[in-house]
C-alpha cells in the first residue's frame, strides 16, 4: 500500500570559531554546548533505535566549518577539558542540592551521570572525533549526510561573482570528501537561500538535490502541480525539495510550537548565573563573566512567568511531554498524508521538515527525545514512513521541471535578515575581497610555478575571504546577540585579507604575520586559491 513520506532534515551548522591563541574562549563554547546537547544526543538516539531494530531515516547537513571544528584536535582537547570541569561541577552539585530540593537533587545526579556518559561516547567510542559516528550511520544507510557551501556564505549576494559561488560550492564538496570519504549527493544552501540560476553551478559540481523554502516552489516560474509535497527538478537537472510550512509551524512556531510546553527545561536559568560567584568562579569564563554550564534546574513553567519565579524541572515529566508531542506530530502527519493521498490520486506525497539541528537538544532540550520517539512511532505507522532525501530521488520516476523562485528561510522569506541597516556595511568589503582575490589569482594561475611563500599567502587570502563570507556574522548583527564578536570577526578577516593582498602585490611577504594568520585562521588546510579563476 502506498504511504506518505516524511523527510526530516537537520541542518547542523556553527560558524568556524577556533582561537588557538586563547586557552579559554567564550564563543568556542557554542561548539561544546552543541556537542553535549545536540550532536551526541543524536548519536545516542541512532544507537538506541538501531539496537531496537527500528528503521529510522534522517537527512543531515553537516556544514564544512562544523566538520573542520569537530575534526580539530585542539578543539577536541578543549572539549574534553571542558567536560571534565563540568563533571567536577556536577559532582559538587549532588552534595549541594541534597538540602535544597528533591527535584534539584534528582537533576544534579542526572547531570553528573549524563556528562560522564557523553564524555565516554566522545572519548572512548569515537576517539574524540564524533564525525566518525555520523559516518557510521551514513554507511549503515540510516543517514543521508549532505554538505553545505564552504563557510555558509549567503550565495544570492555573490550573484555577480560566479567565481565566489564556485569557490563556496567547490570547497564545500572537498571538505565533505575529506572528512566523509565520498562525494555528497545533496547540498543544504546556506540559509536555504536560492536565486534562479544557482542550480546551474550545483549541476556543474554533480550535486543531485537541494532544498528551498515553501515559496521557492509556490512562486516558481511554473506552478508545481503537487505544491511542496513532491520534489521537482530544475532545467539543469537538479532535484529540489521544498519545506512543508505545516510541519515547521507545528514543531517550532514561536506561538504554538511544542518547545513552549511548560514542562520543558528553561534555557535561561543556569547555575552559571544562579550560584554565588565564589562557588561558580572556577567553572565559568576565567575573566569572571558568568556563562552557561548546562546545569539547569528549572522548567518553562509558563510563558509569562518571570525567570526568578520558574518552577523546578523534572526530567521524567519532560520526557512524557516529548513522547506526547511526538505522538501528536505523527497523528498530524498521518492525517495530512491521508488528505494529500486523496488529492494526489494515489501518488505518494513527500513532506519535507527541515530544522536547525541545534533546535533538538540545545534550544529545545527534549528535542532529541521527541525525534527519537517520532522515529519509533513512524517505524510502526501504516500510513507514514520516514525517508532520506536521496531515497526519494532514487525512487522518483516522473518529476515536474520548474525553476524555483528566489527565496530564503529567513524571516519573511527573502534577504532582509542578511541585508539591513545593521549589516549592510559588510558587503562593499566582501565584494571587493572577491575582486582582489580574483585579481591576484590571475597573476599566479599555476600554483606549482608560484613561489611557495606567495602560494601560501594566496591560500591564506582565500581562507580569510571565505571566513569573512559566513552568513552567521550578518545574522548575528541582526539578532543583536554577540554583535561585537560578529562585527569584529568580519573586520578581522577583511583586515587580514587586505594585509595579505598588500604583501602579494608588493612581493614582500611578512612570514611572521603570514604564519600567525595561518595559525589563527586554520580552516581548510588543503585549500586551493585557483578556484577563484573559475569566473
Amino acid at each position: 500500500m502506498p504511504k506518505g513520506n516524511i523527510v526530516f532534515v537537520l541542518h547542523a551548522h556553527l560558524p568556524y570559531i577556533h582561537h588557538p591563541e586563547y586557552n579559554y574562549f567564550l564563543e568556542e563554547h557554542w561548539l561544546f554546548e552543541a556537542i553535549t546537547e545536540t550532536y551526541i544526543p543524536l548519536l545516542r538516539m541512532f544507537r538506541k533505535l538501531e539496537s531496537e531494530g527500528k528503521k529510522f531515516r534522517l537527512t543531515m547537513s553537516i556544514t564544512p566549518p562544523l566538520m573542520e571544528m569537530l575534526a580539530n584536535k585542539e578543539l577536541q582537547n578543549k572539549y574534553v577539558e571542558h567536560m571534565e570541569l563540568m563533571i567536577d561541577l556536577a559532582r559538587k552539585e549532588i552534595e549541594r542540592t541534597k538540602s535544597e530540593h528533591p527535584l534539584k537533587h534528582k537533576m544534579a545526579k542526572f547531570y553528573y551521570e549524563d556528562f560522564q556518559k557523553i564524555l565516554y561516547i566522545f572519548k572512548d567510542i569515537y576517539q574524540n572525533n564524533i564525525l566518525n559516528g555520523f559516518k557510521e550511520y551514513l554507511d549503515k544507510n540510516y543517514l543521508d549526510i549532505i554538505t553545505c557551501n564552504a563557510t555558509h556564505g549567503f550565495l544570492p549576494f555573490m550573484e555577480q561573482y560566479p567565481q565566489a559561488i564556485r569557490a563556496q560550492i567547490e570547497q564545500g564538496i572537498k571538505t565533505y570528501e575529506k572528512h566523509i570519504g565520498r562525494k555528497p549527493r545533496g547540498i543544504w544552501l546556506a540559509e536555504c537561500a536560492y536565486f534562479p540560476g544557482l542550480d546551474k553551478y550545483l549541476a556543474e559540481y554533480g550535486i543531485e538535490y537541494f532544498f528551498v523554502d515553501s515559496h521557492g516552489l509556490w512562486y516558481a516560474d511554473e506552478r508545481p502541480r503537487y505544491g511542496v509535497y513532491r520534489p521537482v527538478i530544475t532545467p539543469s537537472n537538479v532535484f529540489v525539495f521544498a519545506r512543508d510550512p505545516k510541519s515547521s509551524e507545528q514543531v517550532w512556531s514561536s506561538q504554538i510550537g511544542y518547545p513552549g510546553d511548560s514542562r520543558y527545561r528553561e534555557f535561561y536559568r543556569d547555575i552559571g548565573f544562579d550560584r554565588e560567584f565564589d562557588y561558580i568562579k572556577p567553572y565559568i569564563d576565567p575573566i569572571g563573566t558568568r556563562t552557561n554550564t548546562g546545569i539547569k534546574y528549572h522548567r518553562i513553567t509558563g510563558k509569562d512567568v518571570p525567570l526568578n519565579m520558574k518552577d523546578y524541572y523534572d526530567i521524567d515529566a519532560a520526557k512524557t511531554a516529548a513522547r506526547e508531542h511526538a505522538r501528536d506530530f505523527l497523528r498530524k502527519k498521518e492525517s495530512q498524508v491521508s488528505r494529500l493521498m486523496k488529492l494526489f490520486e494515489g501518488l505518494e506525497p513527500v513532506i519535507v521538515a527541515p530544522f536547525d539541528a541545534e533546535l533538538f537538544g540545545h534550544w529545545w532540550y527534549e528535542g532529541p527525545v521527541f525525534l527519537e520517539e517520532f522515529m519509533r512511532y513512524v517505524s510502526e505507522s501504516s500510513k507514514v514512513r520516514a525517508l532520506k532525501a536521496c531515497d526519494v530521488v532514487d525512487i522518483t520516476e516522473k518529476v515536474q521541471i520548474v525553476t524555483p523562485a528566489a527565496s530564503t528561510w529567513g524571516a519573511n522569506g527573502y534577504n532582509e535578515v542578511w541585508l539591513n541597516g545593521s549589516n549592510d556595511w559588510i558587503y562593499p568589503h566582501l565584494h571587493e575581497l572577491v575582486e582582489k582575490m580574483t585579481e591576484v589569482a590571475k597573476i599566479y594561475p599555476v600554483p606549482e610555478n608560484t613561489n611557495p611563500k606567495i602560494r601560501r599567502t594566496l591560500c591564506q587570502m582565500a581562507r580569510e575571504l571565505l571566513l569573512a563570507q559566513s552568513s552567521d556574522w550578518a545574522f548575528i548583527m541582526t539578532t543583536q546577540t554577540s554583535v561585537d564578536y560578529a562585527v569584529n570577526r568580519t573586520k578581522t578577516h577583511v583586515k587580514r585579507f587586505l594585509d595579505l593582498y598588500d604583501m602579494v602585490k608588493s612581493g614582500k611577504i611578512d612570514m611572521g604575520r603570514l604564519s600567525h594568520y595561518e595559525w589563527v585562521d586554520d580552516i581548510f588546510p588543503e585549500i586551493d586559491y585557483t578556484m577563484y579563476l573559475k569566473t
Binding site: 591563541e21 527538478i233 510550512p245 565564589d278 494529500l340 520516476e397 520548474v402 528566489a406 519573511n412 554583535v483
Partner: protein, 268 residues
C-alpha cells in the same frame, strides 16, 4: 581610581538616577556590553553585575588590576588588540544593486579618484541623483526602460540607499549621476542588473515533466496545482516581532522563539 573607589563612585552615581542615555554612555565607557534595545532596568542590572564582579575581585587576592581585564590578555598577540578600521573607499567606480525582498533594493557605491573629482567640481546649481530603471526583459540602451525613477540624493555624503520599488520579479538597473541646472541627467556610473524576488504564483499555464526512466520531456497545459496552499502575509521583521526578539535577546523569552522567527521563511 582604585577599585574600592570605583565601586563607591559608581554606586553614588547610580543613586543620582541618571537617564537611560547617560547610563548607556557610562556602560559603554566601562566596556560593558550594552544592547541597543536594552531597557533602563536592564542597563542598571549590567552595572550591578559589574559592581558585583569588582567587589568579588576585591576579595580575590590574585587580581591586582583596577579594571576587569581578561586573564588571557598576555596571550594576545599585539597585532590583534588594535581597533580595526577598514578602508572607507577602495578607489574604484562601483554601483551595486542587491535585492532585499520583492519591494526593496539596496544600493551602494564607491568612486575612483577621477569620479570623485568630477563630483567635487560639479557646475554650480547641479545636484547628484540616482536613477532606477525597470529593465525587465529588455537590453537597456539608456533610453528604453519601462519606467524610470529618480531620487535626488547627495551621493558624496551617503554611501548607500534602500529603494522601495513597485514590481516584484522585475529587473532593475541603476545609474548614479548629476542633474544640471537645465534639468539634464548626466550619468556617471551604471550598476549591475538586479532582479527582485517573485512574491506571487506564476501565471504560466504550462507544465513540463521529465520521465526519468524513459529520459523524455513532456509538456502539458496546466490545470493549476491540486493543492490550494495557504500563503502567509509577510509582516515586517522589525515591526510585530520586535518585542519577541527583544525578549529572547534579553533572556526573558526563549531563544528557540527568536530563531524560529528569524528562520520562519514566508510559510509560517
Amino acid at each position: 581610581m582604585s577599585k574600592k573607589n570605583e565601586v563607591t563612585q559608581l554606586k553614588d552615581w547610580l543613586n543620582t538616577n541618571p537617564t537611560i542615555q547617560e547610563l548607556k554612555k557610562m556602560a559603554k565607557d566601562l566596556g560593558l556590553r550594552v544592547k541597543r534595545m536594552m531597557k533602563k532596568r536592564e542597563v542598571i542590572k549590567l552595572f550591578e553585575q559589574y559592581i558585583e564582579e569588582l567587589e568579588n575581585r576585591e576579595k580575590s587576592p590574585s587580581s591586582s588590576s583596577s579594571q576587569i581585564k581578561p586573564s588571557y590578555e598576555k596571550e594576545i598577540k599585539p597585532l590583534e588588540r588594535k581597533e580595526i578600521t577598514l578602508p572607507e573607499t577602495y578607489g574604484k567606480d562601483k554601483l551595486i544593486l542587491m535585492p532585499v525582498n520583492p519591494n526593496w533594493i539596496h544600493i551602494y557605491w564607491d568612486f575612483s579618484i577621477r569620479t570623485q573629482k568630477i563630483l567635487s567640481d560639479l557646475p554650480y546649481g547641479s545636484r547628484t541623483a540616482l536613477r532606477i530603471y525597470d529593465v525587465t526583459y529588455i537590453r537597456f540602451d539608456g533610453n528604453n526602460a519601462h519606467r524610470t525613477f529618480e531620487l535626488i540624493v547627495d551621493v558624496r555624503k551617503t554611501k548607500n540607499y534602500y529603494f522601495n520599488v513597485p514590481m516584484p520579479d522585475a529587473n532593475y538597473l541603476a545609474e548614479l549621476g548629476y542633474i544640471t541646472k537645465d534639468r539634464r541627467f548626466v550619468p556617471l556610473l551604471r550598476s549591475n542588473v538586479c532582479k527582485t524576488p517573485a512574491n506571487s504564483p506564476s501565471p504560466s499555464s504550462r507544465e513540463r515533466w521529465l520521465d526519468i526512466r524513459k529520459k523524455r520531456k513532456i509538456v502539458t497545459p496546466s490545470q493549476g496545482p491540486v493543492i490550494k496552499e495557504i500563503e502567509h502575509v509577510a509582516g515586517s521583521m522589525f515591526g510585530i516581532n520586535r518585542e519577541i526578539i527583544h525578549q529572547a535577546v534579553s533572556g526573558e523569552g526563549m531563544l528557540w522563539q527568536l530563531i524560529s522567527i528569524l528562520r520562519s521563511g514566508r510559510g509560517i
